[in-house]
Every structure is written in structure tokens, then in C-alpha cells.
């Protein structure tokens, strides 16, 4: 898969684990995201019941997805909007490019959109001489650093403020070297000034969508900065990129999901800006875009319907699963090697780019279950990672050492007598090897363990052997 290094997760992870900046940058997320979620959840007694309701809404919507999409499309058109359908990312890029060219665009403002990342919109625009300007602060920072987002709602979470300062100094020509930029406030002011000017230059604004509302033909974005709003209100053309599972039936249904979205994502009761966009500006409106386009992207999602990964289509991209994932917190989002990191990425990425390109992702989990515990849409993430492991195993993609080890283990585990005999001998030998120290510093075949830990020695005899002696054979 072009542009993906998901197959190299292990090497990526080792690299990221050695990244001291990443460690420093991620060290605060427990206090913000995790504690924040816990606080607002405690403030809303109905939270878990709302999760059930949100899940039910999506289940119902997915079961009638064709119908709701058609209704949404009809109403979006009735409101003066244009709807374009893209089977894959190439079609999406072609539509966006054509719209930009027709508008004579030289610059495009972008609100945060994971679908734009999935489609490689920025690269495509640049290749065609059109300047994409990321306006979300985090997205802007990683754009000037030529990086990709490491988190679906906090794209620059892997960076420290010192790294941001360095990048600003390198790219903002004309920035006074004497100006103090050590504090986040100063960095924000600097970014705000730079981006202010750019808002008025773009002919096209591109945003994502958190929801498409069938009842009204609207799209909804949820943000905190207000950049997504300026990006769609100031340019002449507003293009929305939305994947097809974003549709919900009614405003009431969107409201229910909104109640769990921000709480799960950032630990806010509600995000600062929830914006419903319906068609282009009306005849007597004083501002707003003259054209409103929505590109509906499939790119493998329709094929997930009715299959083992159907439930993943309930995902509302809140990021709670990665905020609570100890593996994500250790390696950061870039290790996952493609657009979607963390537990949701470990399930979604193989579905979108193929398990053969992403096999390590669903394996990189201890199945600790914390993601499923917090997922507002009650997506059984560990269970689906296991399903990917089954597919991997059935396709013969599981690495040989693991397969062979498993075979050997199975030969014993299914033969209790042989098992008792061999383990009795082995544990005795291990205990003798450890001697009185009670543990081993090194152990053949267990280098992954003893590189970092002592290996606690067995007591010497197995429980089974001692029990048989004590209670007599049954």
C-alpha cells in the first residue's frame, strides 16, 4: 500500500520508543484526555445509557444506509448543494481537483479532515500547483513540519512546544528572532496572525464532516478553534469530504451522538463549535460560500457492511480508544504507519488497505480491553482485532516462529499426560538452573523477556505433581 508503513509497525515502534520528545509530549495526555473524560462522564448520570442510544442509532442507520444516503443526497440537492460520489481516493482527488481548477483556485483553506488525509488531498493539490493551507492549529504545525497527524483529533500531540517553536522560527520568515516564543500562548498568537491573512486569500475551503443529516441534507462539523468555520465561510466554494458512514437520520439522532462525542474525545461537555451547513449561501445572506459541494467517499467501507467488521462503521472518530490505549501512549500515532492509529486504526486500517499490508496492527495489543471500555459507540475493538488475527492465521500470514511455537505448544496442551510429564521435567530443570536466586537473568529462547526483565524461576515441582502426591491419584 502506497504511503503506508503499517507492515513495519515493529520497527516504527522501536524508533518511536526512543523518541524522547514524543515521550515528553504524550506524558500529559493522562491528565487532559483521560482525566477530562472521567470528570465529564461523572457529571452525566445518563452517559452509559446515551452510549447505548448512540449505538442503536448507528446500528439502525447502517441497516438502512442506502436509503438514508439517498434521502440525504436529495435534500442536500434541494438546498442547492452538489453531491459527488467517490468509490476510492483517486476519484475523490479527481473531483476535488476539478472543483478547485474550475474555481481558478491558487490557495485552498483546509479545516481538519481525516478523509482528506486518507485521500492525500494536500499532496495532490501541491502537485497541481495549488497551495493547501491547513488552518487547524495542530494540522498547520504538522504541515509546516511535513509530517502526518499522529492522532485523529489532536494531530500534533506528538510534539513538544519547543519543537513547535523551532518549526515556527524555521518557516515564518520575518519572525523577530528576539521574540519570546517559549510559551504556548505566544506560539498560538504567532500562528493566529499568520493564518488570519491566509483565510482571505483562498478561493476554496475544504472541511470534513462529523455527520451528514438525512432529514435536512446538512453536514456537521465539530471543532474547538473556529478554523473550520472561517474556512467554509470566507472562500467562494465550500467542499465537504465525508465518508459514507457519516450519515445519521435526524437532528435528534445527531444530538444524541454529539452528547457522547466531545465527552469521549476531549473531556468537554460539548465542543466549542458545532456547525450545521446546508447548501450554499441564500440570496439575501451577507456571507457564506456561493457553492457547496459534498464528496461522499466509499474506499472500502461499503464492503465492510454485513461482514465481521461491520460494527467498526459505528466509529465517530472521537479518539477515546487511543487516549486510553497503553500501546498508543507508548509508541504514538506515527508508529501505526497510516492515517488511523490506535485501536480504531488497528481494526480499520486492515479493512481499508488490506490485512497483508497491516498485519502487525491488530497484533499490537495486549487485549487489555480499555478501548472497548471507553468507546462511546461500544465497538468491540479487541474482539475485532482478534478476528483480524484469525484472518491472518487462516491466510498463512502469521509469522513462522509464532506458528511453529503454537504447533509445539498445541501438541502438549491437547495431551495432558504428556504435558504433565514434560512440564514436570522442564520446571525442575529451570528451578535448578536458577538455583537459590529464585530467578534467571538470561534464558535461551526468551530473549524478548530477559532483555528487560528477570525471569522468575518456578518453585521446582508442578502443582499437579505435588497435588497427586498429597491427595493421591483419583
Amino acid at each position: 500500500m502506497e504511503g503506508s508503513t503499517s507492515h513495519d509497525f515493529k520497527a516504527n515502534a522501536t524508533r518511536e520508543l526512543a523518541n524522547a520528545d514524543l515521550r515528553a509530549a504524550l506524558s500529559g495526555s493522562d491528565r487532559t484526555f483521560v482525566a477530562g473524560r472521567a470528570r465529564v462522564v461523572a457529571n452525566l448520570p445518563e452517559f452509559d445509557a446515551l452510549r447505548d442510544a448512540a449505538k442503536a442509532i448507528k446500528d439502525h442507520t447502517l441497516a438502512n444506509l442506502d436509503h438514508y444516503l439517498e434521502v440525504w443526497e436529495r435534500r442536500a440537492r434541494e438546498a442547492g448543494g452538489h453531491v459527488h460520489w467517490a468509490k476510492d481516493t483517486a476519484e475523490a482527488r479527481a473531483i476535488v481537483l476539478a472543483l478547485c481548477k474550475r474555481a481558478g483556485a491558487r490557495a485552498v483553506n483546509k479545516g481538519k479532515s481525516m478523509i482528506a488525509e486518507e485521500c492525500g488531498i494536500n499532496e495532490m493539490l501541491e502537485a497541481n500547483g495549488i497551495r493547501p493551507v491547513e488552518t487547524d492549529l495542530g494540522e498547520y504545525i504538522i504541515q509546516i513540519r511535513h509530517e502526518t497527524p499522529s492522532h485523529i483529533i489532536a494531530p500534533a500531540i506528538h510534539l513538544t512546544k519547543a519543537q513547535v517553536e523551532k518549526s515556527f522560527r524555521e518557516t515564518h520568515t520575518g519572525l523577530d528572532p528576539a521574540r519570546d516564543l517559549t510559551e504556548p500562548r505566544a506560539l498560538l498568537t504567532e500562528a493566529r496572525e499568520i493564518l488570519r491573512k491566509k483565510y482571505f486569500e483562498a478561493e476554496v475551503g475544504i472541511t470534513g464532516a462529523n455527520f451528514l443529516v438525512a432529514e435536512t441534507g446538512s453536514s456537521i462539523i465539530v471543532t474547538n478553534e473556529g478554523n473550520g468555520d472561517l474556512s467554509q465561510l470566507l472562500p467562494r466554494i465550500h467542499i465537504v469530504l465525508a465518508s459514507l458512514e457519516k450519515v445519521v437520520p435526524t437532528l435528534e439522532d445527531a444530538s444524541t451522538i454529539l452528547r457522547v462525542l466531545a465527552r469521549s474525545a476531549t473531556g468537554q461537555e460539548f465542543s466549542t463549535y458545532t456547525t450545521l451547513s446546508t447548501g450554499p449561501r441564500r440570496a439575501d445572506d451577507l456571507d457564506g460560500p456561493e457553492e457547496y459541494h459534498v464528496v461522499v467517499l466509499d474506499n472500502g467501507r461499503a464492503a465492510m457492511l454485513g461482514g465481521e467488521f461491520h460494527e467498526m462503521l459505528r466509529c465517530i472518530r472521537c479518539g477515546a480508544c487511543m487516549n486510553h490505549c497503553p500501546v498508543y501512549q507508548a509508541v504514538g500515532g506515527h508508529a501505526y504507519g497510516w492515517v488511523y492509529p490506535g485501536p480504531m486504526g488497528a481494526v480499520l486500517t486492515p479493512a481499508l488497505i488490506g490485512i497483508e499490508h497491516a498485519a502487525p496492527l491488530p497484533n499490537a495489543s495486549t487485549f487489555c480491553g480499555r478501548c472497548e471500555q471507553v468507546c462511546p459507540m461500544r465497538i468491540p475493538l479487541p474482539g475485532m482485532m482478534r478476528k483480524w488475527r484469525e484472518r491472518e492465521f487462516d491466510k498463512g500470514l502469521t509469522p513462522r516462529p509464532a506458528r511453529q511455537g503454537l504447533k509445539l505448544w498445541a501438541a502438549f496442551a491437547t495431551r495432558p499426560r504428556l504435558y504433565r510429564f514434560v512440564t514436570g521435567l522442564a520446571m525442575g530443570a529451570l528451578a535448578r538452573l536458577a538455583g537459590r536466586k529464585g530467578r534467571l537473568r538470561r534464558l535461551p529462547l526468551a530473549g524478548g523477556w530477559t532483555r528487560y526483565r528477570e525471569f522468575p524461576a518456578p518453585e521446582g515441582r508442578t502443582f499437579q505433581a505435588m497435588w497427586a502426591e498429597k491427595r493421591g491419584r483419583p
Binding site: 515502534a13 487485549f367 480499555r370 474482539g383 491437547t414 528477570e454
Partner: protein
């Protein structure tokens, strides 16, 4: 003895590495009025295969466990992850095979993690044991999230004379063991267990307790590699008053420390 007949699912790690925990479990069950038996035809619950995506092998192992244990009133394991395998995952294993599915479900319904069983089923409120020390407790993931084991060990520990519990920051965060995960992704696992041992040492506790041998061996091995003077034990050892043996990975009398 009267009382329910309990089949003890020893678990492979307890069987091989820490028989003391098996005896502690038997003692606790018998003191609570159960008849504890240990079927010989048991090996492992099948998690290594299940978590590798090898459903066929898992089914083969599970059938052995089901056949060995289905005659008991209850199946009890001193491990949240093995009990969770029996209780939650065995029924998922046999989607297409109705008769095995029914047997798996019947077994699942009577399978329990040891401490959860003592408190929730046997309504045990107190154990007769003492332990002088400050302990901290790690909530192993499967026990916590698949079986809801959280308050039960704390309730019993609270009644132990001389024991003072100091809660661990991030007690509910995974220690990085994860079965084969710790050997498949040793570097990540190391970061996770390092975070955990830091929290453990920060509590100032002299003893770490948990309910799963895998997590315990992982944390004990890391604490010892770091030279931390924290003793690591399975919670059953303390509840059964059997904490007089060397702790996990600890030197036996007269042996030098590593």
C-alpha cells in the same frame, strides 16, 4: 465435606511456576465450605492459540477443558484471564457447532475467578489471615474488564490484620504482559511495564499483589531487574495466610540477590 463441588482450574502458569497459589486456592475454597478437586486432564485454557487467531487449535484445547470440568458445580481459576477465557470466550469459539456451543455455554455460566467467586458466590466477607505490610494492588485487565473483579479483592484485603492497602495510580492500566504480546513486542511491553513499576515504587508499598500470574511474573521480573525492593505475590497467597514462602522471583533462604 458438603458445600459445592468445585473443580479447580489451576492454570498453566500456577501449575508450572507457582504451585503455592494452587494450594492457597484450595485452602480458601475448602475453608469457605467447598469441596475442591483438581481434574488431572487439564493443561491450559487455550489463550495462546486464541490470541494468535488459531481457532481450530483453541477449540481442541477447549474441548478438553470442557470435558474435564463440566461435571462440577463450579469451575474456579486463580486467574482473571483464564477464567475470562472460559466464561467469555469459550462460547464464542463454537459458533457453528451447536452441541459444543451449548456445552461451552454451560461451562461458562459456572466458571469464576477465585476471589470473585469467594465474595460474589460464597458471600465470603473475611478471611483468617494476617499480613504485616503496606501492599498495593494491580487490577489485571481481564479480571477487571471481562469479569468485574475490582471491589472483591479489596473487600477481603481490608479485613486482613496488619495489612495496609495503598492504591496504585493507574491501577487499571495494563502492565504490558498480554501473553504472547510481551515476546512479540518486547520493546513496547518494556515501556508499559516500566511505567507500571514506576507507579508501584511511587506508592512506597513493600508488597505488590494481583490476581494473575502472567502480570505478576512480568512486574516481578521488571522490579527485580530494576533492583526495587518490592515483594510480589498472588493475592490468594496473602488471603490464605500462605505468604511465608519466598515471593515471586525472590531468592530462597540463603540465596544471594541478583
Amino acid at each position: 465435606m458438603s458445600g459445592p463441588r468445585v473443580g479447580l482450574f489451576v492454570t498453566c502458569l500456577v501449575d508450572l511456576f507457582r504451585p503455592t497459589v494452587g494450594f492457597a486456592a484450595v485452602k480458601l475454597l475448602e475453608e469457605a465450605g467447598c469441596t475442591a478437586e483438581v481434574p488431572q486432564a487439564q493443561t491450559c485454557c487455550g489463550q495462546p492459540a486464541w490470541n494468535t487467531g488459531d481457532r481450530k487449535t483453541t477449540q481442541a484445547v477447549a474441548k478438553g477443558v470442557i470435558a474435564a470440568f463440566e461435571g462440577y458445580d463450579y469451575v474456579v481459576a486463580p486467574s482473571g484471564s483464564c477464567a475470562g477465557m472460559l466464561r467469555v470466550h469459550y462460547p464464542e469459539l463454537f459458533v457453528a457447532d451447536e452441541s459444543w456451543k451449548a456445552r461451552a455455554e454451560a461451562l461458562a455460566a459456572k466458571s469464576w475467578e477465585l476471589v470473585g467467586f469467594l465474595v460474589d458466590v460464597l458471600k465470603l466477607e473475611r478471611v483468617a489471615a494476617d499480613y504485616a505490610g503496606i501492599v498495593t494492588y494491580h487490577d489485571s485487565c481481564s479480571g477487571l474488564r471481562e469479569l468485574g473483579v475490582k471491589a472483591q479483592p479489596r473487600a477481603l484485603l481490608a479485613g486482613i490484620g496488619g495489612l495496609h492497602l495503598r492504591e496504585l495510580a493507574d491501577a487499571e492500566v495494563c502492565c504490558g504482559f498480554g501473553g504472547t504480546f510481551c515476546v512479540k513486542y518486547p520493546d513496547i511491553s518494556d515501556r508499559m511495564v516500566s511505567n507500571k513499576t514506576k507507579s508501584i515504587v511511587d506508592t512506597g508499598a513493600d508488597t505488590l499483589l494481583a490476581g494473575d500470574m502472567g502480570c505478576l511474573m512480568n512486574m516481578a521480573g521488571k522490579l527485580q531487574r530494576e533492583g526495587a525492593a518490592v515483594r510480589v505475590r498472588h493475592v490468594a497467597e496473602v488471603l490464605a495466610g500462605m505468604a511465608d514462602r519466598p515471593a515471586i522471583g525472590e531468592a530462597r533462604d540463603g540465596g544471594e540477590g541478583a
